[in-house]
Amino acid sequence: MMSARFVRLAETARVPVTIEVDGEPLEALQGDTLLVAVLCKLGRVRVSEFGDGNRAGFCLMGACQDCWVWTADGARLRACSTLVSEGMKIMTREPQTPWSHA
């Protein structure tokens, strides 16, 4: 997987927070959005379901919906407008939930 995309320019003395992305631990800082936490370590936040590759968000203001991630119980989050919290677990691919759960 490609390397980190975002670069932290300031505000790096915040309290560290550990979240889990696709089963792997990921160090973030309190006050990070999920999108920033992920992109400060990784090169993408999801894979396009239409086959045109990796995506890393676009508008960062909740308009484009290109940064959806999922919680373990199948809830969809907009990574750009969700703040991280200790122990948060997210998946970058939609979990396969049976139709009866929908």
Partner: protein
């Protein structure tokens, strides 16, 4: 009976609107999709961040501080619903969702202060990871103290292009180049109108100086060709043609792209407000009277959500819409206060007209977009596929072409491809752009969670 007033948005227009209503003894409900007030322009950083107002907002620090201060004082005198999306307007109710909770709120008066987002023209490769809207690049910095990459190209046109690039430079990011599709001559031609706000013009010139002093290459009058890279690795560069005709390629791992702003008008559309075609910016806008009244009784639009005039104008038009609400409710309102805000708006209008002429929307770029370029980022529909649909079905209206091609039907609901798609349709079908029409707003205006629970009223 106490009138029920709902304001959507807590940026400069929404806050000034609320302030004037509170001053008249009313208690409006302010619904904000963001976690905190300020809108996009005066977006507040998370509580545990420590950067100063001067660092965050530069020359506009005093305005940001004043607006935040006003909002803090209003907090106990309004109903504030943060992190709440208005997803429909119907039968004098707004439908709101927060997390997985949903409810309806009745209103007598509705002030839509929904702001604007980046206006985008697709560029081949803009679907690669590492391509962002200019506004998105600004949010990364302002609200999260991050740069979108290690080596960044800012491309497109408009005031925001220079502002964001200068903010990045000041924050210590590595800006590889600024590529402006507008030729410099356009700025000189628009100078008369830009002088309607000399201090803002001066700030714009200062931004460019900041960039030049930092050694950033600024190219004007360019033709953008392609964001280079791959589906896996994302952005690796950008190719363009200089004004001199020379082909160039710049290495980068991130691109911030934008062409001025586009009002968020979906709620006005759902409220059944009439729209008009604005020939100078080639887009449809809500039809308003000078004080922000729409064609629908009790529905008002203010700020950049009405038409993009900037933050200072948004404060004036937010106040003006509140005055209109008060007058329509039968409150005594002084004629002079209307006149003062209207006069202020006239100046902003002239300046905005100057900006539109200096940094025009590059309509021809849509016509020239190669067939294999993605137009709809949501569902990866290419320009060629859209043109094929127009040729095969004869659909020369945006909503019909959307039904056949799915352009505008994806997650963003046409926010980022809609204007370009209309240009492509108009060009391919050889009809005037206004005949291609506009994508109708659909409820929900943004995707909702599948499991929504109705709150007890």
């Amino acid at each position: 009976m106490v009138p029920r007033i709902v304001i959507v948005g807590a940026g400069p227009a929404g806050v000034r609107c609320a302030e004037a209503l509170v001053a008249a003894g009313l208690r409006p409900t302010v619904i904000d999709e963001n976690r905190r007030d300020g809108g996009q322009i005066y977006r507040r950083q998370p509580e545990n961040f420590t950067r100063s107002y001067a660092t965050l907002y530069g020359t506009e620090a005093h305005r940001a501080a004043a607006l935040h201060g006003t909002f803090d004082r209003l907090r106990d005198r309004i109903e504030y619903l943060p992190e709440t999306l208005v997803w429909n307007v119907a039968d004098r109710h707004v439908y709101v969702a927060s997390g997985t909770r949903q409810r309806t709120i009745p209103f007598d008066m509705l002030a839509l202060c929904t702001g604007a987002a980046d206006r985008l023209m697709p560029l081949k490769g803009w679907n690669f990871a590492g391509a962002y809207s200019l506004g998105g690049a600004q949010v990364a910095l302002k609200s999260q103290a991050c740069a979108i990459g290690r080596q960044i190209v800012f491309a497109g046109t408009g005031a925001l292009l220079y502002l964001v690039a200068a903010q990045y430079v000041k924050a210590g990011a590595n800006v590889a180049a600024v590529l402006d599709t507008s030729p410099r001559s356009r700025r000189l031609a628009a100078l008369g109108k830009l002088l309607a706000q000399p201090s803002v013009l001066y700030k714009g010139v200062a931004l460019e100086l900041t960039l030049r002093r930092a050694g950033v290459h600024i190219h004007t009058g360019v033709e953008l060709h392609e964001i280079l890279g791959s589906a896996d690795a994302g952005v690796r560069g950008l190719s363009f043609r200089e004004a001199s005709g020379k082909q160039r390629q710049i290495e980068c791992d991130a691109v911030g792209l934008g062409y001025h702003l586009r009002p968020e008008t979906q709620l006005a559309d759902l409220a059944r407000c009439e729209f008009r075609f604005d020939a100078s910016s080639r887009q449809w806008l809500p039809k308003l009277d000078p004080d922000g009244r729409t064609s629908v009784r009790g529905v008002y639009v203010a700020g950049d959500g009405a038409r993009v005039l900037g933050a200072n104008a948004a404060e004036a038009s937010g106040k003006l819409a509140a005055l209109a609400v008060l007058r329509d409710l039968g409150f005594a309102t002084a004629w002079e206060s209307f006149a003062e805000q209207r006069r202020a708006l006239k100046k902003f209008e002239r300046f905005a007209q100057g900006l539109a002429e200096a940094f025009p929307w590059p309509a021809q770029q849509a016509a020239q977009l190669p067939d294999d370029a993605v137009v709809c980022r949501c569902e990866s529909v290419t320009a060629g596929q859209l043109r094929g649909v127009i040729e095969k079905t004869g659909a020369c209206e945006a909503n019909r072409a959307k039904a056949f091609s799915r352009v505008g039907m994806g997650r963003c609901q046409g926010r980022y491809c809609g204007h370009a798609a209309a240009e492509i349709i108009a060009h391919a079908a050889a009809v005037p752009i206004e005949e291609a029409g506009r994508l109708r707003g659909q409820a929900p205006v943004k995707p909702l969670p599948i499991a929504l629970t109705e709150d007890e009223q």
